[in-house]
Amino acid sequence: MSALLHIQNVSKTFDLPGGQALTAVDDVSFAVEKGSICVLLGPSGSGKSTLLRMIAGLETQSSGAVLLNDTPIEGPGRERGMVFQAYSSFDWLSVGKNVEFGMKINGVPKPERRARAERFIGLVGLSKFIDAYPSRLSGGMRQRVAIARTLANAPDVLLMDEPFGALDAETRWQMQELMIEVAEASGTTMIIVTHDIEEAIFLADKIVFLSSHPGRLKEEILPTFKPGRLRNKEDVIALPGYAEMERKIMRMMREEGHK
């Protein structure tokens, strides 16, 4: 069986000023199944964001390959849409036009564009704000716009780099639950970078745990205690097996921190 995305022996070395080299990602391999949510988890310095940026094509790997549908990726492209932690709305466009942007530049006809934009804006719960400018929205609402904008562009995989890291705690778990809803409704494959253990266990079909300095694949963790995807976070926390997995990952985090 062939997965949607293969990361094959990917390494990334940065040249530091002074002639030294820093290995951020070291020989990482894993696969992401179509329609699944894969979470890249690890302490700071584990190269998880760098890895995601290489999958997006925004950085080039020093060695190894990223294959999408068995084809090596070269540079960024619409089939790998990305949502960033920092605010990325196009301020000069309304919410509706923001979401239409990707479709517009890719030649989707106007009526279809509008219809898809409305659908995804509805999915993230912003229908009332379709004609508003993003500057009127809160941080969480702006991230919803970014998510709708990326999904409406029909990527093969949605990449998210700590998408909820800048949000307050309440908004953060609302967004996490929204992502489960979105994944169920759209069937989109997702790769999400986080350092939040709760978030990782709640969202992931598979957790790829990376060690730090250099970033290496430490373990692929499957939260098999979950009976599929649950929409309420408290239901996941209440499951037998949750506490044990959280404890295990916290220990792994601590070990990495002491290195």
Binding site: G75, G81, A86, S88, D91, W92, F101, R136, T150
Partner: protein
């Protein structure tokens, strides 16, 4: 909120506490009234030589007389024309070049060393050579105004373009934008409000060079009128010229502020 502020002693100076609209108006009017009050007193009580410092009433009467009887309107129009033509030419070069330098490091590498060297040369130092090259017509004046702002305008616009947040550009790329779309549909609209701010700042500088050009080498325009007035000790006309230039500069500034609000309504919501 109100009880808390009542409880506290009212203080005049508070760090970064905003003032009311009423207080702002009173403060602004107060300082102008004081300015003219001192001026009226100084000339009325004979503290100053009335030939060197005419009273404000006389200056304003002179402004009216200049426009009504002495064809000053034509001078003003000539000056405005010079400013607008030179500034339009400078913007026509600076906007595309600045954005290109900010967007493409390869273009920046070519022009940045050149532009920054010219920035350190005071434009008025070119007046003698400009007069020799272009004679005494409009060309040397326009050239001086153009040289006075072009290099600053290019640098400011390039800097603003470079400051566009990386996430905006990378979002566009991962939505499938090519180079043309990234520059024209993301970077340009993102930087446009700041381009207008840079133009507003530089337009004030054009007015400065205008007066220099008209004082040094012109028989027409507001500056030339002021130099003529000096010959006949007409200080009221000199001061009238200064006031008219100030009013025109302020009008330009307000026009730009209005244009900014009109063109970029989405920035209003941030407040």
């Amino acid at each position: 909120m109100s009880t808390a502020s009542k409880g506290r002693k009212a203080r005049l100076l508070q760090v970064r506490v905003p003032v009311s609209g009423r207080q702002a108006l009173i403060s602004a009017l107060g300082v102008w009234i004081a300015f003219f009050g001192i001026w009226i007193l100084a000339s009325g009580l004979g503290w100053v030589n009335p030939i060197l410092v005419p009273p404000p009433g006389k200056v304003f009467a002179t402004i009216v007389r200049l426009f009504a009887e002495q064809g000053f309107g034509a001078d003003v129009l000539i000056s405005i024309g010079r400013v607008l033509i030179a500034f339009a030419l400078a913007s026509l070069v600076a906007v595309p070049l600045g954005v290109a330098m900010g967007a493409f490091p390869a273009i920046n590498a070519v022009f940045a060393p050149f532009v920054s060297a010219w920035r350190y040369l005071p434009a008025p130092s070119f007046i003698p050579i400009l007069l020799m090259w272009f004679g005494t017509g409009e060309t040397p004046k326009l050239a001086l105004l153009f040289l006075g702002v072009i290099f600053f305008l290019v640098t400011l616009i390039a800097d603003h373009t470079r400051e566009i947040r990386k996430e905006l550009i990378e979002t566009a790329l991962t939505l499938g934008a090519n180079r043309r779309v990234t520059v024209f549909q993301v970077m340009l609209p993102a930087v446009l409000p700041n381009i207008l701010v840079a133009m507003r700042q530089m337009l004030a500088v054009v007015w400065t060079y205008l007066v220099i050009a008209e004082i040094v080498a012109s028989t027409t325009g507001i500056g030339a009128m002021m130099m003529r007035a000096r010959r006949f000790l007409k200080t009221d006309e000199i001061l009238a010229g200064i006031i008219v230039i100030g009013a025109l500069g302020m009008a330009c500034d307000m026009a730009f502020a209005l244009l900014h609000r009109r063109l970029f309504p989405y920035l209003e919501d941030k407040r």
